[in-house]
Amino acid sequence: MRFEESVLTLRVRPNDLDSLGHVNNATALEYLEAGRWAWMERNALRKVAQVVALTLRIEVDYRKEISPQEVVVHTRLEFPHEEELRDPEELHYRVRFHQQILIDAGTRLAVEARVQAAFVHAQSRSLCSLQEFLEASRVSPP
């Protein structure tokens, strides 16, 4: 099993800016979330009602201010590692994404984050594995 990195371009909206004229820190978290949805789409995974992904932890380094412009959000799965995913029987209950928000036409790093997520059955609220999430979310080929 292999997952591709996603690249999402977003335009900063006027209402994303704080009184200093740069993107509010909390809004950067919205960009990161949009990046994770783009990662799902890039890897042919869709949002389903039965199994839900929950954010467990976000570590963010704000490196540069973001002024009004286009930003590029890079998202890749950092854990489990590719070799761990090769074994379809190996259970995992957590994933970790490495995300970056780039500015100046994708040339400068503005935000770097590591985001952990877990999965629950929507109805029972019990934890479920990455495998169950993937099984429920995978888009069937037409």
Binding site: L56, E89, E90, L91, H92, Y93, R94, A118, S124, S126, L127, S129
Partner: protein
């Protein structure tokens, strides 16, 4: 298949390794899962706990070719009950 005693020892050893507590701390007082999370430096929440059980399950599969299903467990479940549950699953013998 390995005998029950050997399997139980293996499961206990893997639980200790994966939750980061020694056998005396973990099984001496028969900690509940909530207490395991509170006492272990590696644990923050129930996802950490499930990851630890998943690693133990993966180790069982690699060592003994036995597949263990992980049920939903409430946080007041004592660790001895989780060990028994793993052993029962092994005895039911779901080969890989």
């Amino acid at each position: 298949m390995a005998d029950v005693g050997e399997l139980k020892d293996f499961i206990c050893q893997k639980f200790c390794e994966n939750v980061g507590l020694n056998a005396e701390e973990l099984f001496g007082a028969d900690l509940t899962l909530a207490e395991v999370i509170a006492r272990s430096d590696r644990m923050t929440n129930s996802v950490d706990l499930m990851e630890a059980f998943a690693k133990s399950s993966n180790a069982l599969r690699k060592q003994y070719a036995i597949r263990v299903r992980l049920p939903a467990l409430s946080l007041d479940t004592p660790i001895s009950q989780v060990v028994d549950l793993f052993v029962r699953e092994c005895q039911q013998g779901r080969p890989v």
